[in-house]
Amino acid sequence: MSEPSEKWRERLLYLISPIGLLLLWQILVGLGFGDRRFIPTPSDIAARFWQLTLSGELAVNTLATLWRVVAGFVIGVVPAIAVGLFMAMFRPVRIFFDPLIAALFPIPKVALMPLFLLAFGFGDASKIALVATGVFFPVIVNTYAGAANIEKIYWDVSRNYGASLWVMFTRVVFFGALPMIFAGLRIAVAVAFIVLVAAEFVSTKVGIGYMIWNSWELLQVDTMFVGIVMIGLLGLVTSALLTELERKVIPWKTEER
């Protein structure tokens, strides 16, 4: 247990680098380094952020992006976890999926966007499909790795104590792989935002990605930065939510730390 004062010192240290960077930025641009039309100051961005919040424009775009991320995430993660666990439990399943994963994982998922536009049209479905595809691979690879590395004794105990395949799957393999599944989910969150924002650049009229691209075309650089900041904030919040969830569902791991 650390002293409360030490905790505060760490929190302060945590904030110094971003605040320091913003200050430096503000001062340098304020002093006339760089063209303010192309490089707004943090205070300009903050003002624009507030403006867009009041007008509701930011909320509309954020909700559109968030909905696509959440829907795609759920659609991609659930089968990834299931198949990953099956791959660890049954050798034929692993042999069947291994080459598919090896071949499809390295393909930049953004490259599939035209294909998804053909298949699902310009609505939300094509973006959701892209996010689902993007999150599927890091999660399946991590889930398999987690389940395959479950200590042998837990398989022995399961078998010796009469566990059915269903019990093994739901009570042993899933939980044994859970720490690694969470590692995969963290990567998946980042991937989801990366592929989605890129997709929103070109194939939609709503969403943070659209907001960024549209404001760039109109040379509203401050709005562009608001979009970038918003993505950063969303990433921060989802990461914090994941940490909280992890603490809830993996008490045996998180308490050790």
Partner: protein
């Protein structure tokens, strides 16, 4: 305390286990013949690599023999065997009570009965206060108690134990040995207990099987004549205990030297 029933009878005939094929063959077990009486506490000692763990795993159904036969007569018992490993093997993600009840849960025992039996088993091993703890919150000795409770709660006809106390400190080991003997005396189960400690084999068992390495064979089966209930502390100080210990030590010493000479040849 009267024992109303006896554990499983085991008959092992011409059992062999061979790993690999072609030139890279390893004979882990070679023509093992053994009878274990219902309710007997049988200890198996031998150098590492003598196949004693393999034998136990075959008995537990976790491995398949290459040839030979194992008959286990366990009529009237719902669960044939339960194994206790050297590492507790408690699932880190389950609380102690769920871990202990695992073998009941998997067999679909009704929840109320499960709870009652788990409660009794936790009392038996002194873990009742720790029912809602996770394994990582317990000491090594307590985890091993949990593993023993998980085995006993299923009420198996035979208990298969693979060096269950080897990783514990001397004090915890002595305490758990005494408790194991007490529980066994009360329940009349058949116990097959693997150890590399001669002393432990003599303290606990009715008979001690001495095994040899490469290939794994039964060298000798020694009757341990000490009556039950046993006072393990007093027993380990007796002269006859010392004599038996020396006998078995000589058997094993010859074996270890022979195996080493063979390797160097």
């Amino acid at each position: 305390m009267g024992i109303e029933r006896r554990g499983a009878a085991i008959e092992i005939a011409h059992l062999t286990k061979v790993y690999g094929n072609g030139s890279a063959v390893l004979v882990a077990l070679d023509d093992i013949n053994l009878r274990v009486a219902p309710g007997e506490f049988l200890c198996i000692v031998g150098p590492s690599g003598c196949g004693k763990s393999t034998l136990l795993r075959i008995l537990a159904g976790l491995d398949q023999q290459t040839s030979g036969r194992i008959d286990v007569a366990a009529a009237g018992w719902a669960v044939q065997n339960a194994m206790v490993f050297q590492d507790s093997g408690l699932f880190p993600w389950m609380r102690v009570a769920s871990n202990v009840g695992f073998g009941l849960f998997t067999r679909g025992v009704p929840a109320a009965e499960q709870a009652a039996r788990v409660e009794a088993a936790l009392k038996l091993v002194g873990l009742i206060k720790f029912r809602d703890h996770f394994p990582h919150q317990l000491s090594g000795g307590m985890r091993q108690r949990g593993a023993i409770a998980r085995a006993f709660v299923t009420d198996p006809a035979m208990l298969l134990m693979d060096e269950p106390f080897a990783a514990l400190d001397a004090q915890n080991r002595a305490i758990l040995q005494a408790e194991l003997v007490r529980i066994w005396e009360e329940t009349g189960k058949t116990v097959v207990y693997i150890t590399h400690s001669i002393e432990e084999a003599l303290l606990l068992g009715d008979r001690t099987v001495v095994m040899t390495a490469q290939p794994g064979r039964i060298k000798e089966i020694i009757d341990v004549p000490f009556p039950h209930p046993r006072n393990l502390m007093a027993l380990s100080a007796s002269a006859e205990f010392g004599r038996l210990k020396l006998d078995i030590w000589r058997l094993l010493e010859n074996e270890v030297n022979r195996a080493r000479a063979e390797l160097e040849r």
